[in-house]
């Protein structure tokens, strides 16, 4: 079926009053970003709907991208045709043949804004229904809850036909919920937390700590590639790599073993907070889940969170591991997350970290370090990479391989 455009219906928008314009503008921008390698596609955001004019771009490929864009409630691939009865009949038949499966019930649903058109909605419903009955076997009409609704809209410029109502990703357009930084490790939880933050419209910058030569380039690339998967939901995400080895070495040398983990985390949070401030963010997100590991007990969280008053939001805080994994599988990050590259959280992990660290002890030990100098040097070494949907960093040789093989 050669669709000419996609009709997009907005999400929670109706409750948003004056923000409507903002919302629609953001959504259009995000759609433009995810469809950036289809230059022929035109995006026309309107007050009540958005029209994506395909201009020959294959619907199936556009669909793959579109279904991940937050802020879209439903959408329909549509064919725009001339307003003649024959064209409407033929197109209706072609659409039915493409989407109807034996056993389904259907109805024709016509809307007409062009009141000069020769037939009214009831007449059109009747005529097109009759025509389809004449051309296809086993059709069954059902008015109340049909499996398939053939929608016909007769407007001033043309007639629009569609037979599918596809569910969008829901949520809010990324960017309408303000900016924040996300602490992305490379494990299973933080990508899921990122997804949930994006779903509420929050635009996030990824902050990733890495510690060469203790961690390999692969671990860094894995985090970048995870960001590439998440960029499907955002259009583009900035990835900030923060060198962390010097801080870890210093802590290892000067802090009692039981508090290694707590103090490392306090540094991470400080760094994330400074990056947030520099980039105009309002909050910090992370993938902590209550009680999952020593650093995620409430006592630990309190001792770590002590370094900032910025809101630290934890979207997966109350989820079970199995729930987090199910979501990771759904959003496509799981297989990558379980790739076993050591990250900076594991390399200096003490064998017996305190699960109930004390805030004042943490402060007292930390006083032995030149905190601000360490932080400044780490910040001086950051690298920012804009990452687009499905950018690859681990398998970046795949194309080279394809040429060889």
């Amino acid at each position: 079926m050669k669709y000419t455009e996609i009709m997009v219906r907005y999400g929670e928008l109706s409750t948003k009053g004056k923000n409507r314009k903002d919302f629609i503008g953001r959504l259009a921008g995000n759609v433009t970003k995810v469809l950036r390698d289809f230059p022929e596609v035109e995006i026309r955001p309107k007050h009540d709907r958005m029209h994506i004019i395909l201009n020959g771009a294959p619907f199936a490929d556009v669909d793959q991208r579109l279904k991940k864009v937050f802020g879209i409630q439903t959408y329909s691939p549509t064919i725009k045709i001339k307003k003649t009865l024959t064209m409407i009949e033929e197109t209706a038949l072609a659409l039915m043949k493409a989407t109807f499966k034996p056993g389904m019930t259907f109805k024709v649903n016509t809307r007409r804004s062009d009141h000069n058109f020769a037939y009214d909605t009831n007449e059109l419903n009747q005529m097109i229904g009759d025509y389809l009955f004449g051309q296809m076997d086993n059709l069954k009409v059902e008015m109340k809850q049909p499996d398939l609704v053939l929608r016909i809209e007769v407007r001033q410029d043309a007639a629009y036909l569609s037979s599918q109502l596809l569910r969008g990703a829901g949520g809010m357009p990324v960017g309408t919920g303000g900016r924040a930084v996300m602490m992305l490790s490379g494990g299973i939880d933080s990508p899921v937390a990122s997804y949930l933050a994006l779903k509420r419209g929050v635009e996030i910058d990824m902050v990733h700590f890495y510690s060469p030569p203790y961690t390999t380039e692969k671990a860094l690339n894995k985090a970048k590639e995870l960001t590439g998967i998440l960029a499907n939901y955002a259009g583009r995400i900035n990835f900030i790599a923060v060198p962390f080895a010097e801080i870890q070495e210093t802590i290892k040398a000067k802090i009692p073993e039981g508090y290694l983990m707590t103090i490392q985390r306090r540094f991470m949070l400080r760094l994330a907070d400074q990056l947030r401030a520099k980039r105009g963010g309002l909050a910090i997100f992370n993938g902590e889940s209550v009680g999952q590991v020593a650093s995620q007990t409430l006592e630990s969280m309190a001792a770590i969170n002590d370094v900032t008053t910025t809101p630290v939001l934890r979207p997966v805080a109350t989820m079970d591991k199995t729930e987090i994994i199910a979501l990771a599988e759904k959003i496509g990050t799981f297989d990558l997350s379980i790739q076993p590259f050591e990250d900076c959280c594991t390399i200096f992990a003490p064998p017996r970290p305190k699960t109930k660290p004390k805030v004042d002890k943490a402060r007292e030990y930390e006083a032995r370090l030149d905190t601000s100098a360490l932080i400044d040097r780490a910040l001086a070494g950051i690298e920012i990479t804009p990452i687009y949907p499905n950018d690859q960093f681990l398998a970046d040789k795949a194309q080279e391989d394809a040429a060889l093989l």
Binding site: E217, A395, K397, A398, D401, L404, L405
Partner: protein, 385 residues
């Protein structure tokens, strides 16, 4: 030159050789090394495996790289026998297998395993009823080739699979070396096939590499102990240039597979049509759905196969006395013997084996030359009397 000995080995494809060369020069790290060079090699190894799996319709984790068909066959057979010997020590194969299968079973027999060798009919084909009768509670392995290397018989792999559906603990191995790319068993090993052997040099790839497909969940003991490559089952540094070449060659081979097989079949038909009319010639590989399109075995009775091969060679035409692996020994062809062909006829047999690069013009040239040879030998041999 006319090369009609493709079942022995094939000429390496120049573009495959380019891949080999490039990989050997540029991606020479050990895939097991930690550093970047090793990483790059591991990446290419994974890409090669994925491409092969895609082409063969398997999972990448089900493909194991070996040194060739012989190792794959030995591993499938001995690996199964040893892995399962506490459950049973009875093994079944056919009487027309390639030496690497037949001799692996002989070796196991010498270790105390019980081996049943199924007979074949006049077409060299195994009968499923014989297999049914041979199976018992001690049986752990059935190994039957996909296509016979000497005369091209296609074995009833589907029927055997159906029968073995009732014997889930028996490993079913198919030596598929001759069948690949001939529109026979290229992709679908039936779901009941557990182990499949392939050899790269039979499809224009470098020699010294091959594949054993092992269905997920099936256990076989490794033959090599060492560094634990290939999921710990086949130690030894991977022959990456050859493996990459093999992946490329298989892609090329399976492109337009049907058309290629049809072309080979047409060449075979042309020569068979000619030979059929000649007194004194016996054809063992008829044009039939039960025979591979690329193998033609026949005998000019009374003239030793070796004599014919050498005579043809004078005209720059390369053929073989049945299997290349057996042809340097004086023993008669094992498949023909198993088919109850008399020694006198069997020693006269020669094998032509085609590939997709052979042409109808070559078939015509072969016929012209053979007619000359035939006329020369006819009076000596009192043919047609």
């Amino acid at each position: 030159m006319i090369y009609f000995d493709n079942s022995a080995t094939t000429k390496i494809d120049p573009t495959v050789l380019t891949t080999y060369d490039q990989v050997a020069r540029e991606i020479w790290g050990n895939p097991s090394s930690l550093h970047r060079l090793g990483d790059r090699a591991a990446q290419l190894l994974a890409s090669s495996r994925e491409q092969l799996a895609d082409l063969l319709g398997t999972k990448p984790s089900e493909l194991f790289f070996t040194s060739g068909g012989t190792e794959a066959n030995n591993w499938a057979i001995k690996g199964t026998a040893w892995q399962k010997q506490t459950f049973g020590q009875h093994l079944i194969t056919s009487s027309v297998e390639h030496a690497s299968v037949a001799n692996a079973f002989t070796a196991l027999e010498n270790q105390g395993f019980r081996v049943t060798r199924l007979p074949v009919d006049k077409a060299g084909r195994v009968n499923v009823n014989d297999l049914r009768a041979a199976l018992d509670s001690d049986t752990t392995l059935v190994s039957v080739m996909g296509v016979n290397n000497e005369i091209g018989t296609i074995q009833p792999i589907e029927d055997i699979s159906d029968l073995l559906a009732n014997y889930p603990t028996v490993n079913f191995h198919v030596d598929n070396v001759q069948a690949i790319g001939k529109n026979i068993w290229s992709r679908v090993f039936t779901p009941r096939v557990d182990l499949v052997s392939l050899s790269a040099h039979k499809f224009h790839a470098p020699r010294g590499t091959g594949i054993l497909y092992k269905k997920a969940g099936k256990m076989i003991l490794p033959l090599h102990d060492g560094g634990g490559q290939e999921q710990g089952l086949r130690s030894g540094t991977e022959n990456l240039p050859a493996i990459a070449g093999m992946a490329k060659a298989l892609r090329l081979l399976l492109t337009d597979e049907v058309e290629k097989a049809d072309r080979e079949a047409a060449i075979k038909r042309k020569i068979v049509d000619y030979l059929q009319a000649k007194p004194g010639i016996e054809i063992f590989s008829p044009v039939s759905l039960n025979f591979a399109p690329h193998i033609l075995c026949f005998a000019l009775t009374g003239i030793r196969g070796e004599t014919l091969v050498h005579t043809l060679e004078e005209y720059d035409i390369y053929t073989s006395t049945t299997s290349a692996c057996a042809s340097t020994r004086s023993a008669t062809a094992s498949t023909l013997s198993a088919m109850q062909i008399t020694d006198r006829v069997a020693t006269s047999a020669i094998r032509l084996s085609f590939d997709e690069t052979n042409t109808m013009a070559e078939a015509e040239e072969f016929i012209r030359v053979f007619e000359e040879i035939y006329q020369h030998f006819a009076p000596i041999n009192h043919l047609g009397e």
